[in-house]
């Protein structure tokens, strides 16, 4: 039996007491090295799903296991260790505006206590992967949206996580830059990282021909391989 990278078993998340659940008994299995696209309308529950995976939220009920870590047994003090295994990319990049590209990526390594010489060695190699060599000294404000998102991806993968979670990474980008970002994600996936991508972009979904999970009103309405965008 292959160990699953992500396992959700009948996960429900309810905000407040009487409102309808944001996620309703969702079950999902993702194997290592898979590339999974999660689609769904705004408010369908995509973001809630990702926030559960990064342990920013806890489920109301159900079981979540990511990379072998059972979230029921995860203590608060071990959350930082989990987040080091899971790389996350956000729609709004979340870069530090007053630091250079190099410093933004290095930041992720400083947190885990890596030495300065090792950081100087590692960061350029990752910037190579996201095609940002030569932009080390730029400030985020000097970059295009697509470049900023690739900095964020570099920061997410610099610690070689097993899983990369990308929440609408192309949401703020024009088509050309969106594709730059998607190509980088495909490259990372080829290197062996599991990628979980949420997007609204129909063209991207249709061209990628990957597994597509559709969420509708808090439930998984379809889950097919080599699928096209359909809500």
């Amino acid at each position: 039996m292959i160990e699953l990278m992500i396992l959700l078993d009948r996960v429900t998340k309810t905000y407040g007491k009487s409102s309808a659940p944001a996620l309703d008994r969702i079950s999902l299995h993702v194997e290592p090295k898979e590339f999974v696209i999660v689609v769904g309308q705004s408010g369908a529950g995509k973001t809630t799903l990702l926030r559960l995976l990064t342990r920013e939220e806890r489920p109301t009920s159900g079981k979540i296991i990511v990379g072998g870590v059972d979230y029921d047994r995860l203590k608060d003090k071990d959350i930082p260790l989990l987040r080091r295994k899971v790389g996350v990319v956000f729609q709004d990049f979340k870069l530090l505006p007053n630091r250079t590209v190099f410093e933004n990526v290095a930041f992720a390594l400083e947190i885990v206590g890596m030495g300065n010489s090792e950081i100087r060695h590692t960061v350029p190699r990752v910037l190579d992967i996201v095609n940002l060599r030569g932009k080390e000294k730029s400030m985020p404000a000097e970059l295009s949206g697509g470049e900023r998102q690739r900095v964020a991806i570099a920061r997410a993968i610099v610690r070689q996580p097993k899983i990369l979670i990308a929440d609408e990474p192309t949401g703020n980008l024009d088509p050309k830059h969106a594709w730059d970002v998607i190509r980088v994600l495909e490259k990372i996936n080829r290197y062996g990282t599991t990628v979980l991508l949420t997007t609204h972009n129909q063209e991207i979904v249709n061209k990628l021909k990957r597994r597509v999970v559709t969420i509708k009103q808090g439930k998984i309405s379809s889950d097919r391989a080599n699928a096209e965008y359909k809500i």
Binding site: T54, K94, L96
Partner: protein
């Protein structure tokens, strides 16, 4: 181990950088901490000065038993050894008639008429005496018991009798009660101002957290541990404490420097103010270390509290 050292160095570095950047924000926190630490230092020095005065006066207090001229050496020796056996008594000494006369002459060397009066009497009018130094002038019950025995009273000079230095004891009581009041006021003031400083540092750190909330959120999402995020704030507020301690010690030093001549000249009755200066400079390094310690503790504790709520993980289901 290497990771921990690197991380610790980064935490201290970040804290120091933030301290410099937030210098103006920190000014209020440092100022109130200077007030707190100065009050602590002032209380310590005042307390030491009062205690010094008390022990100085106390050491001068003694009980003199004046003996009539017919008392034999053996009788006085018996009485002295009885007194020496008491737990209240520090020392007992015998002053002969000749010694008493010599002392009297020395004490009144400048007063020619008194000396002439003594010489005119021909013999030695001064009685021999036994001087008793009690450990605590307030506790002389056992001594009194012996002195009030009829057999002892028989030995005493009928005119001079026994002297208890009563006025000095009253002075001691006054200073002791003043010290007590001052100590209580000091403790209350220290607690009050320490509390106010903590509140202000608390606010300062909260403001610093608010200014950097995006950065902290990102650190959190990237998997920074609580102590990695909190550490720089603790370093920063400990540095407020260090600054405040240095300023308060320098301030007190300056006060002594400017007023040293005035202090030496004046004396508040029995109170030896000059001792405050001596005490401060004799214990300078100890006081400085103590102030630094208190400053760091106040700073660190308030920033731990300030960061606590912010750094909690969402645990609600």
């Amino acid at each position: 181990m290497m990771h921990e050292i690197i991380t610790l160095r980064r935490i201290i570095h970040t804290g120091a950088v933030n301290f410099v950047r937030n210098a103006w924000l920190a000014a209020a926190a440092i100022a109130i901490m200077v007030v707190t630490l100065t009050i602590i230092l002032f209380s310590l020095i005042t307390n030491a000065t009062f205690n010094n005065t008390i022990s100085q006066i106390a050491s001068k207090i003694n009980i003199s038993v004046y003996l009539n001229d017919s008392v034999s050496t053996q009788q006085s020796n018996v009485l002295m050894s009885q007194l020496r056996g008491l737990s209240e008594v520090k020392s007992v000494s015998y002053i002969s008639k000749d010694e008493a006369l010599a002392e009297y002459k020395a004490a009144n060397a400048s007063n020619q008429s008194l000396l002439e009066a003594i010489n005119e009497t021909g013999g030695n009018p001064l009685p021999a005496s036994i001087e008793i130094n009690p450990i605590d002038p307030a506790k002389i019950d056992q001594v009194k018991a012996i002195l009030n025995k009829p057999s002892t009273i028989n030995l005493e000079d009928p005119v001079a009798g026994t002297s208890y230095s009563g006025d000095r004891k009253a002075a001691i009581d006054k200073i002791a009660s003043a010290t007590d009041v001052l100590r209580r006021v000091g403790v209350v003031a220290v607690i009050l101002f320490a509390f106010i400083s903590m509140l202000i540092i608390f606010n300062t750190i909260q403001m610093a957290i608010f200014n950097r909330r995006d950065e902290l959120t990102i650190m959190r999402l990237l998997g920074a541990t609580t102590w990695y995020i909190r550490g720089p704030f603790i370093v920063e507020s400990s540095m407020y404490g260090i600054c405040a301690a240095l300023i308060s010690v320098a301030f007190i030093d300056l006060v002594f420097l400017l007023s040293s001549s005035a202090l030496q000249a004046s004396s508040l009755g029995l109170l030896d103010i000059g001792y405050a200066n001596t005490y401060f400079h004799r214990h300078f390094w100890l006081l400085l270390t103590g102030q630094l310690f208190i400053g760091i503790v106040i700073g660190a504790v308030s920033s731990v509290i300030a960061t606590r709520r912010y750094l909690k993980f969402k645990s609600a289901k």
